[in-house]
Symmetry: C2
Subunit: 510 residues, 2 copies
């Protein structure tokens, strides 16, 4: 058993294979990006195939291989279920899947796991049913949870070797020029899929909207695509927008947002040309509104807003408060529409967005990030993957990436959720190490990480209640009592990779 | 001595190293695209360096390495001379250079060759002074002439291993997000440079216009760039537009253009959704005007026009006659401006444009191409690299790429130039094999390649004089007499690579 820098025990077997977390930038070292095989296409060749079945046959997909998907269709995705059903029907077994994330709509995956079709998974996250099943221990091999930047790194470095990427393409021409802004299942940015297309051995574009050649704009180019298959539907537009971000009326969330906005506007980062990222959580989203007011009042404009883009950011840009939106993923339909129409709303891939081993990612240039949390502990470690019951139900997302790279990371969370404390002695699972987290904002006030004395000095006169993180935890426990310890089993059901590829934690069965 | 499929003698030494030409698609086989080393950039790192000198030091450039440049600045390029001067000053020797092409402005290269700074060259072309010097035999190693698609292939496959790419960047931010549409030396598309950035071990952006982060649109992304250096000027805008394409008034060229347009409009390819590429030569350009009239008269619209883009194509698109311009290079300033403003004027890289080993290039989807020639022989072989005196002065460009891939390739040329025949028994140098050339158009009439009986049938009632290629040659020789044989020396001064990497010809010293 190895103990890593955030004091988590990593079983030797995995510690040896992955290494253990030893600091934010310790493992950032030169490497060689993978080479990939190319099957050239001559003028006489066609890339069109008649069905998913035929595409699978053409790629030579077989037992033991790795396939990938993207999660830009969110709860509206049809592609992963469609492909896995066909693979199962063809009797192919022992497949590793490497989707950029997994949603509730992918519950049929549970049967494919039980039947031995899928035996390895890497993903950013696992939602309700699939997460619960994994936490019960239905897989022999642990799921590998990777951040968005970590996944891009893993693919570029060959830690994930994708044999075949199946890419849901909102629109494609017959040669595989793809974008996400035209078609029936428009999702906007294809930032996560772009990386799969760039590095996978073979790429199958699955589309329901075949457009005349050449399709532009080109998010994924014909030079990255081997086969194109047209199906009836790749996604449900209402599912793509599902859970889409509405403005909160919850007074607790509004207070958190107001405090978080204050932390930004009272900081030295808040000046013309500053940059920010907000998540899609209720409080995180609401920050935009308070920020907007301050930007107007103080005549401050942002150079760019980054990340998963929401309509709240689109509105700020339309008002001239933000120069550019840099977009790896769209959380709602208006954002997808904006990316199609506005040249200053710019699509980027996951490697540019957040890979720790790229020649520079956008998050490195980011001033401020607002991030949500399921739990924060007194070492500022953050959990965004397991519930208070220890069950997998969240997603790593860009949390650890952005926190490590930006100049000031702000984690927003209510002090308690129902009868469950959010600020705790020890998070169930560490996804983001405390050294990356600068300010924790709750409805009762903020705690600044002692490893940022510059921020403590900067905020000494700020008109927001300030506490130590221990004091916040005490306030939480005063409401909820000390939380009962969860009884985990002995089986490791998930490995939590830090963005550099080392293990920051493991999750055991419940 | 090997003899290749177009009956050219290739010295064994080179035949062994490169293979010899054996047919248009014979050598199109699966391969592995190169891997590249990545030096990751953390949030604390800067990519800015103070000078070309410092950039060279940082990259560790040393004797024997290969560096590359792009030719989008044409006769206005300052970057190659600037970098080579610095390398010479630093005492670095035995450098291989791999610019996408070489212009007259690069005459200082001659001294760097003589001084042993530059000992190997690969390029699409060689203009007057440099070409003459090479043909005199000033280099020990032959220059390797590659087509635009062939160069992309060579870089992707590792035949050209670029240690450091120096990329003239009309605009860049401090992280190396580059485009060619903003700045002082705007050149529009950076199609050739994009490939260098994608595959080179290290990339230095050399800019005179540093813009706030993030620079968009992103032609070359920060994830491909290691260092950024700001200099006073990277290019002369008037030189970039030099030799820019004016509409010809030469009656011979106009007649050729009229005939060539006729070949297109009388063909079965001329229908809604057709696609075409025209070069930038006088007659080729003039084709656009005749084509325009026919498109209006017959209500035919093109889906896309491809290639080096000229204002003539931009005008067609503005009139609604062409849906999209697909742009690897801009031949004039209005084209660069159009690419900046019009989302349907779309930038692509050289690999997408023309690589024979990519997963499908744009030329594969092309119906008709108009191409110029210095010489055409009675086997339809085309020379675009050596003059009638055997001296290197032209450029391979996309000639062999487009000819091989499009559905109908039309070579336009006057029957004689001055007292020199253009249609000859044997071209001085084969760049494009006859099997790729479908129709030769002169001011006296056209010759259709007998290997295209479908075209002979298609054009049997066309109201343009038709001859065999031998007849056209006789008409030329009747004017000029049989041309005297050139006395070449024994030294191989240039290898002419076919797009697949095999040798289609060699050039000896004069």
């Amino acid at each position: 058993m190895s103990v890593n820098q955030v004091k988590r025990e990593i079983p030797d077997k995995y510690a040896k294979q992955y290494g253990v977390y030893a600091g934010e930038f310790t493992n950032v070292k030169p490497y060689e990006a993978v080479k990939r095989p190319i099957k050239p296409i001559t003028p006489h060749d066609s890339k069109m195939v008649d069905s998913i079945h035929d595409a699978i046959v053409k790629t030579g997909l077989k037992d033991g291989m790795t396939i990938s998907f993207h999660h830009h269709f969110r709860e509206g995705d049809y592609v992963m279920n469609m492909v896995l059903d066909e693979i199962a029907k063809m009797g192919i077994k022992n497949i590793s899947i490497a989707p950029s994330s997994i949603a509730n709509v992918h519950a049929p995956l549970i049967d494919h796991i039980k039947n031995g079709v899928v035996t390895n998974i890497t993903s950013s996250g696992l939602r309700d049913k699939v997460g619960a099943a994994i936490s019960e221990g239905i897989m022999d091999n642990p799921v590998v949870i990777r951040s968005h930047g970590g996944r891009a790194r893993a693919i570029a470095r060959g830690d994930i070797h994708i044999d075949v990427a199946f890419i849901g393409a909102p629109s494609s021409d017959e040669y595989g020029n793809i974008n996400g802004t035209k078609g029936n299942a428009t999702c906007g940015s294809l930032g996560y899929a772009m990386i799969d297309a760039k590095y996978a051995d073979q790429v199958v574009a699955v589309t329901d909207t075949l457009v005349p050649y050449p399709n532009t704009p080109i998010s994924i180019p014909q030079t990255d695509v081997d086969y194109v298959v047209k199906v009836d539907a790749i996604g449900d537009p209402s599912g793509i927008a599902k859970g889409a971000t509405r403005f909160t009326k919850n007074p607790k969330e509004l207070l958190i947002a107001e405090y978080a906005a204050k932390v930004i506007t009272e900081s030295s980062y808040f000046k013309n040309g500053f940059s920010f990222q907000t998540g899609s959580g209720g409080a995180a989203l609401a920050v935009s509104r308070f920020l907007r007011k301050a930007m107007i009042d103080e005549d401050v404009k942002a150079s760019f807003a980054l990340g998963g883009i929401t309509n709240a950011m689109v509105e700020l840009q339309k008002e001239g408060l933000v120069d550019k939106l840099i977009d790896v993923q769209d959380f709602d339909h208006p954002s997808a529409v904006s990316m199609a129409e506005n040249p200053d709303h710019y699509e980027i891939d996951a490697e540019s967005y957040a890979s720790p081993l790229s020649k520079g990612s956008f998050i490195n240039q980011l001033d401020v990030a607002i991030l949500s949390a399921l739990e924060v502990d007194t070492n500022f470690n953050v959990n965004v993957i397991t519930g208070s019951d220890g069950v997998l139900r969240g997603a790593s997302g860009g949390h650890s990436d952005t926190s490590a790279a930006c100049k000031m990371s702000i984690v927003v969370a209510p002090i308690v959720r129902g009868r469950i404390p959010t600020i705790v002695d020890d998070v169930q699972t560490v996804v983001t190490p405390g050294e990356s987290v600068d300010v924790v904002v709750t409805e009762l006030g903020v705690a600044i990480n002692p490893n940022r004395p510059d921020l403590i000095e900067m905020f000494k006169d700020m008109k927001v209640p300030q506490f130590t993180i221990e004091e916040l935890k005490e306030k939480a426990y005063a409401i909820t009592g000390t939380p009962a310890k969860i009884h985990y089993g002995d089986k490791v059901v998930a490995l939590i990779e830090y963005r550099d590829g080392s293990l920051i934690d493991v999750v055991k069965n419940v």
